[in-house]
Each structure stands twice: as C-alpha cells, then as structure tokens.
C-alpha cells in the first residue's frame, strides 16, 4: 500500500490530533502547523515536525493559505489534511494546493464550490430527484419575486444566504407583513458575512430532526454511505449530542435516506469523505438540507458503528486507492453516542477559555475520547470552544446511554467550565431516553414548566 511519506495537518485541537493519530498508524510522517499561542498545544507536540505559521488571529495563521502552503513546501509534505473548519471548505485553498503540486485530502474545488452554493445545490438536488424543502427554484432575484414564492409555499418561510451554511445567514418570516423587512435584513447580513447577498427561500420547518448521512467516494467514482447520524440535539444550530443509528431509522428509512445521500454526492461528483444533511419531519418526510464537503466533527459516531476508520479512508482515497467496500459490505452494529465537551458555561453556553488545572479522562470498555487537552494545558480564547469529544459504543441505545452517563461521571475537568453538566442533564431527560425529540429539544428541556405540563398530560 503506497500512501504518502509526509502529511501536513492544517488544523489544531482535537481534529489535528485525530489526523496525526491516523497518519501514525499508517506510518506517515506528520507536520503540525500552529499559531504562536498554540506552541504548547498537543498537536504541536505529537507531530513529527511543527512549523509556526503566524499569530493567534486565525486569518494570519490557520486560514493563511500562503503560510500553510509554504510550510508544506519547506517540510516536503506531499499532502495536506484540512480537518474541519478553517480552510476545509475553501475552494481557493483546494486549488492552491493543486497548483502547488500538493495533494488536498478532500473533494475537488468544484465539488466544494457546488456544496458551498446552497441555492445552486438545492437546484441540483431537485433536478436529480433528491427532495428539497418546498421553496424557490434556485436563488431569488427581487423582493417581489421572493414574496410571490413565499405566498405560494405558505408562511412561515426562511430566507437563507446562498453562501451560508451551518446556521449562519438566516432569517425567518413568520407572516406576510414582516416578509419585506426580514428579506432585506437577510440580504444585508449575507453581504456582511459572506460578501454575497444572494438569497433563496424555503418553507420554515419548525418540528424536525437533523439527520445526516456519512459518504465515502473514491477517485474512480465509487460512492458508498456509512449510515446515518441523528444530530437533532442542537442549540442555535450548534450540535451538542450526536448518535448513530437514529432512533427513528428503520432498515427501510436507512435505505431511502442513504440512497438520497449517494445521489446527492454523485450530483457533486463527490470524492473523499463528506456528509449530506437532511431535514426529517416527524411524519417521515425527508428533505435535502446541505452537503458538507469535509470531515465532520461527529465522524467518530459512524466509525464506532461501521468499524470504518474514516480519516484513514480519506487518506487512502486521496492517495488514489479505490474503496475497499461495496455498499452491501457495510454492516452497522450497536449504537454510538457522542457528547461535545465545550469550554462553555453549561447554562448559557458562553465560552470559558482558561487553564485546565486538573483533568481525568474516562476509560474502560466502549469509551473513546478525542481531545487535545492535557493536565495543565491552556484553552486559548481565539478558537472554537470544543475541547473534547466523548464517544461511547454499546450493544444497543440503552447500553450506550448508560455507558455515556457513567463516562460523564468519570470525566473531570477543573479550572474551566464545560458542557459536561448539560450533557448529564440531557442524558437523564425522559425525552432523550425515549428518543422522542426534535431540534427544539434543548429549549424544551430548559423550560421546566412546559416539561411538567407535558408529563402530566
């Protein structure tokens, strides 16, 4: 198996550590890049080499394309793994790698562009027979045209930026009178955030599950999926708990949503690992939401149930190897749950950077911890607040929940506040245990009066 001699990891934190681990197991040397506040970070310590590429500000370090490519050149790296966030979905970066003769471990720049243009992706999907939420047929051009569509599909509607994604650049219009205002607000936000005011319109679905499908595609055009993940436990579109399989997924459901996902990936001529996100209504309707053209934070959940090491597969695919599995050979077993441990106040989710004065990680059977934290390390304030992913696997959902609860009890982080107390609360909530939730779960959990009302009903 001829892969690469050396890979540069263009990221930090737990995902950089995750990628370095995969490289080490594949006997590939690694280069870490870091900003000057990350000198003592774990990824810098674990890699074979490390290069400081800029100051804390990520525009000048982790998003610094010339800096990263130069670091790759001076270290003779053959390929770059972008992780998630930062440059992972930046088509210019993928192109710059290509023209520098360095392999970008991910999809082509064209696929990234198609995935990034949400309005266009909608159109593409609709044409290929992947259902989308009722709404505009591509971007809308004027407020009048937009309103016409809104009235046709019926209020409430959501106005979204074509260049958005991950919850940014969205405005909800509950009824006709406020449509105009929300339209122009959305346009201004989109321009400010993405430098692109293009909008599209969708029916606003309030009661939904967020279910996504992990995709692997090789350079020969083979595409398979590794089952679904249910990521409905979110706060303001930020996922907090993910699991696989979804509580609501039957074999038939999985076949259907998996087929849609493969179709979506095929429409983007997709290569490498990616994720197709869907809205699933309680009634069972499935709608394409967007495609994330990169490795996902929650990929370990799928690794646990499928037995596939997704990061290693990314590297093998980038090296030109064909997929080892056909769809039928993918067997899912047991149940996996991930809790994102963020350096945040567990009540108000305000970031809480600082020094970890004591750390004890959970262990034992069926427990996986992905983290870059260590005793005495400092969580800088410049980057995102994810400090650890706690992932468990059990024979079934009940065992996975029990295991997660005991692992959360063992997980001790002192010195900073974390979301561990939130997770303990969520895992003990009757709605979670019953599997009966939508993306509104957290709001409901945090509204005690409503909860009591429901229970007595």
């Amino acid at each position: 198996m001829k892969l690469f001699k050396k890979i540069l990891v263009a990221n930090r934190g737990e995902i950089a550590v995750r990628i370095i681990r995969a490289c080490k197991e594949l006997d590939i040397k690694t280069v870490a890049v870091y900003s000057d506040v990350d000198k003592e970070s774990m990824h810098t310590k674990l890699a074979d080499e490390s290069v400081c590429i800029g100051p804390a500000n990520s525009a000048q370090s982790y998003n610094n394309i010339p800096g990263i490519l130069t670091a790759a050149e001076i270290t003779d790296s053959e390929a770059i793994h972008p992780g998630y966030g930062f440059l992972s979905e930046n088509p210019q970066f993928a192109e710059a790698c290509l023209s520098s003769g360095i392999i970008f471990i991910g999809p082509s720049a064209d696929s990234i562009r198609l995935g990034g243009d949400k309005a266009k992706a909608r159109q593409t999907m609709k044409r290929r027979g992947v259902p989308v939420v009722p709404g505009s047929d591509g971007p809308v051009v004027t407020e009048e045209a937009a309103l016409k569509i809104a009235k046709k599909i019926g209020f409430p509607v959501i106005i979204k930026a074509s260049a958005g994604g991950g919850g940014r650049g969205m405005r909800i219009a509950k009824e006709e009178p406020e449509f105009e205002k929300q339209y122009y607000m959305a346009q201004r936000e989109a321009l400010t955030a993405f430098g692109n005011g293009e909008l599209y319109i969708e029916k606003y679905i309030t009661e939904m599950r967020h279910i996504e499908v992990q995709i692997l595609g090789d350079s020969k055009g083979n595409i398979i999926h590794l089952g679904e993940r249910d990521c409905s436990i979110q706060r303001r579109h930020q996922k907090l708990i993910e699991e696989s399989p979804s509580f609501i997924a039957t074999q038939k459901f999985r076949k259907k949503i998996g087929d849609y996902a493969v179709k979506a990936a095929r429409a983007l001529k997709y290569r490498n690992a990616g994720t197709v996100e869907f809205i699933v209504e309680p009634a069972g309707n499935i709608y394409f939401m967007e495609m994330n053209t990169r490795l996902q934070v929650e990929h370990p959940v799928t690794e646990y149930v499928s037995g596939v090491d997704i990061v290693k597969e990314q590297i093998k695919i980038a090296a030109g190897l064909p997929l080892e599995w056909k769809q039928i050979q993918i067997k899912l077993s047991g149940h996996a749950i991930e809790c994102r441990i963020n350096a945040e106040d567990p009540e108000r989710f305000i970031p809480c950077p600082g020094k970890i004065t004591f750390l004890a990680l959970p262990g034992g059977p069926g427990v996986r911890v992905d983290t870059a934290a260590y005793n005495g390390c400092v969580i800088p304030s410049h980057y995102d607040s994810l400090i650890a992913k706690l992932i468990v696997h059990g024979r079934d959902r009940a065992e996975a929940i029990a295991r997660m609860k005991r692992a959360l009890d063992e997980f001790i982080i002192e010195g900073i506040k974390t979301t561990i107390p939130f997770h303990k609360k969520a895992l003990n909530s009757p709605a979670f245990i019953k599997g009966d939730f939508t993306t509104g779960f957290i709001e409901k959990m945090n509204a005690p009066v409503q909860n009591t009302g429901k229970e007595s009903a």
Binding site: V51, C52, S61, P66
Partner: protein, 145 residues
C-alpha cells in the same frame, strides 16, 4: 552623623529585612529606604545564583534588551542575497539604515523583502542562507545607533 556612621548603618541593614529607616539628630536628618529585602524566598533561594552571577547575567540581559531582534513575519525560506550569484544584502558588522533590505523570505515563489526598522549595526545573522524559517523566528540581531 558622619559618613563612617552611615556606612556602618547601611552595613547593619544588610543582614536585616528592614526597608526604611529615618534618623534625625542634631539637625542631621537621615532617611534610608530600600527595595523589598532580597526576598529570594526560602523555597526559591537554593536555586538562585550568587549575587555576582546575577549581576553579570543582568548586564548581559540589559545589553540584549538594547539589541533589536528582527523576526520573520511569515513562514518561508530565508535568503541573504537577492539571487544566488548576487552579493549578500548586508554583511555582519556593517551599518544598516532604517528601511534597508536585510534579507528575503521566499514563500509561494514570492520574494518578500525584510527591511530594517532601525538605523544600526547588523551584529549577527541567526539563520543560515537557504534555511526554512517559521513565523516569529529570530533572523538578525541589530544594535541600534
């Protein structure tokens, strides 16, 4: 109070943890103040070097702090001359003017000229020609004039 007395008084204080003393006598007014005692607290004491060593070290540090370290603003490859055949920009020991090019950092086939921010003497080059450098890596020591 004579100078000799003062001397003795000062000598006396050395062994103590007194930080201020004031004496008024016969129209003479003496006030002695000093910084917080030696303080290398018991725990730290064994590690601390002798007073003399400290002083020498301090001098070097002071000297160093006067010098200006030119660091690399980007990742790249360090070159002391504009091309392999050309002479190097500034020889060690020579004067440099503010704005004068000291070296080139090549990144992405682009040659980034690094200029001196002060007038001074180029004391030392810290990186070999043709070597890769990181962000923030020290390149030169300049003694400002």
């Amino acid at each position: 109070m004579e100078l000799e007395d003062l001397k003795q008084l000062i000598e006396l204080l050395k062994e103590t943890d007194i930080t201020e003393i004031q004496v008024e006598k016969e129209g003479t007014k003496v006030k002695i103040k000093r910084e917080k005692f030696f303080q290398p607290l018991e725990a730290a004491a064994p590690k601390s070097p002798s007073v003399q060593e400290s002083l020498i070290k301090k001098e070097i540090e002071d000297e160093m702090q006067r010098l200006i370290t030119v660091t690399s603003p980007i990742v790249g490859t360090f070159y002391r001359s504009p091309s392999p055949e050309a002479p190097i920009f500034v020889e060690t020991g020579l004067r440099v003017k503010k704005g004068q090019v000291l070296c080139i950092i090549e990144a992405m086939k682009l040659m980034n000229e690094i200029e001196s921010e002060v007038d001074g003497i180029l004391l030392k080059a810290l990186v070999e020609n043709g070597q890769p450098v990181e962000y923030g890596e020290p390149l030169f020591l300049i003694e400002p004039l």
